[in-house]
Symmetry: C2
Subunit: 120 residues, 2 copies
């Protein structure tokens, strides 16, 4: 058992493991991008929006009616999902129809469902 004090007072028991793990570490930017994606899926309103859009495109009004929250709230969430390129939209007159940007959301939800069904 080995003790080592560095400036942040961290004890390190297995230096070799820590060193190896550092080789494999994700960059800060990649980590943050991944977290933003997962965080987007980690809110009930946004997850419901994405789940609804997996089946067919919908407008802001429809999503607000479905989730029983304000259109403003939906719009705020859609902006975030747009920024993360999880949804896209197309305009038809004054109406904006939103849809999933790609297959990844569906895949992520499906795997997470597998997980929660196996641990219950």
């Amino acid at each position: 058992m080995k003790l080592e004090n560095d400036q942040c007072q961290c004890r390190t028991i297995h230096d070799d493991k820590v060193m190896e793990a550092r080789q494999r570490e994700l960059g800060e930017e990649v980590t943050d991008d991944l977290c933003q994606t997962f965080k987007a899926l980690g809110d009930p309103s946004r997850l419901k929006i994405l789940w609804a859009l997996e089946y067919e495109e919908m407008c802001v009004c429809d999503l607000a009616a479905l989730l029983r929250i304000s259109e403003s709230a939906v719009s705020h969430q859609l902006r975030l999902l747009r920024t993360l390129r999880l949804v896209k939209n197309r305009r038809e007159g004054t109406i904006l129809y939103y849809r999933l940007a790609d297959e990844h959301v569906s895949q992520l939800v499906r795997i997470a469902m597998e997980h929660i069904s196996e641990i219950k």
Copy 2:
């Protein structure tokens, strides 16, 4: 174009779509469980922990040294990950070695990486 005011002042443009979406809606409990899982992956410290454990089991000290945060902070996060059955541990004397509970975390991270790499 159809206007309909219910008690929560929501306009619904496409009643049919909303009705269909309601049939497919996830239950509240499933939604919350999914969100908790994604939220767990949506924090940089927890994601780094999970990413490290994907390669090999590690103890609290090692993870604290790797992430350069306190052991207490690591322990708090590991408790959450344990509750969500994302990690497991085994005891060897006073040391607890943590590892991933199943394959789902790896799969989720891999798909999320695909997503962020395709949108850059």
